[in-house]
Symmetry: D2
């Protein structure tokens, strides 16, 4: 179960200068790191695949893509989380393509619906605009933090 | 997309002596490592949560649990993969509880159905027998390897 | 979105004598009718497939099976609903086999976890013990009714 | 498991004149009937909710919406099915809103990816442009028919 108790920081230099990441997020730092940029309906998420993201067949591991999807569910619905914590209660993922080391993997999506207690998000991860992961998730809004 | 092109090895010493893991699996080694034991309907999967598996709230990251679920889908259906490769095409995960550093996270499950081209698996991850992740997946059988 | 505002009734005669159904449930009566029996971990759900349940290929329509799964999610978690209403927020279904007219289609399952606001259920529909639908769902608990 | 062995017919008169439906589809005729219009990326699906589509709470039954989603998965990917039969292997549904008698329920979506054996589709059902069901599905391509 993911939550979002960590703090947003802006990367200051390098390939990801200007992008947001969250700290401390020990697992996301090793499984990614994953980055986000933009606001509201224009949030984009991304990371660069490297050898450590791969499975034994030389493509990005499904677990890595699902971790990125989980990150993206929160980033896409970022406007909800300025004053509340949340946890993922469901994630559904269709693996429709593959990526390999060197690829820039991006994701975007939309809040399908937000009620007082649940946020429904869907998104798509792509490599050079070709879909690799279709994902939907349900996030539960916890008490104000 | 996960595949299973890597080779099974038996751990020789330490906490996981006698358990199986797969190599090379760069992502699973950092997201886990994850282990499996037993055959057919009695496959058990496990890993020990440590600080690097956590999110910013101090619980095991949802992406880590989904990576473990993806590993478990293949381990649970291990009898299929002795002479074929496979890829995950769908994974659906319900996050029903949490785990933290020090916890032993286990998973088991069953092949719901195997056709010539698809394998349907469901499983449950638990901590001390309490469910934390309910998961189902569909794996596609590729050509003989 | 399903809810459970209807009342449980016991069938008095015929094939389903002694089984529970719910009324008024206009859609379930035409899509089924669906029936349940037993308590707690021993709830069984069932219906008899007839020609009107079929698709153009002569097998029970996927939508009929999903309606039965939705019914079963509530029946399996029936102990929760004695004093609360609920709605389905997610249902995930794997179609792993087929059924045809004349078949007795059964389902059973378990409450994976119940929190104050959400109930996680998983189940399996079978024909003569062979799986045809693997399903999981998340139900939201509404105010006391 | 749905398949698509039935034949497309064009409605000749009434509210749905000019729309496509499929026959014989016994279950879809009672659970719907459901209709589709347009080609390729512009396929629209629709039906008009009436009292028989409702649950005991007076809203359209989740099973009815899932049957409509299953219909829509095939209609949205209609270009695939001109010379092949197919079956649904997975459907994942998030119930994000409700509809009632009199409402026009519409759905549209896209083929996320089509391989030689599998078609991945996602879609959204709406009432007056407000989302009520977010759905994704995987369809398996069978032999040429």
């Amino acid at each position: 179960m993911t939550n979002n108790m960590s703090k947003q920081v802006i990367v200051e230099s390098g390939e990801w200068a200007g992008w947001r990441t969250w700290e401390p997020e020990p697992f996301e730092q090793i499984a990614g790191p994953f980055y986000a940029k933009g606001e509201s309906d224009d949030v984009r998420c991304a990371f660069r695949a490297t050898p450590r993201h791969l499975n034994g067949g030389g493509t990005v591991h499904g677990g890595c893509l699902m971790a990125f999807a989980d990150f993206s569910l929160f980033a896409i619905s970022g406007s909800i989380w300025s004053d509340h914590a949340g946890v993922t209660v469901n994630a559904s993922c269709d693996f429709v393509g593959s990526a390999t080391a060197g690829d820039l993997i991006e994701a975007s999506g939309e809040i399908v619906r937000a009620t007082r207690s649940l946020v429904f998000v869907r998104g798509m991860a792509t490599v050079e605009l070709k879909p690799i992961l279709n994902f939907s998730g349900i996030l539960k809004i916890l008490l104000p933090r």
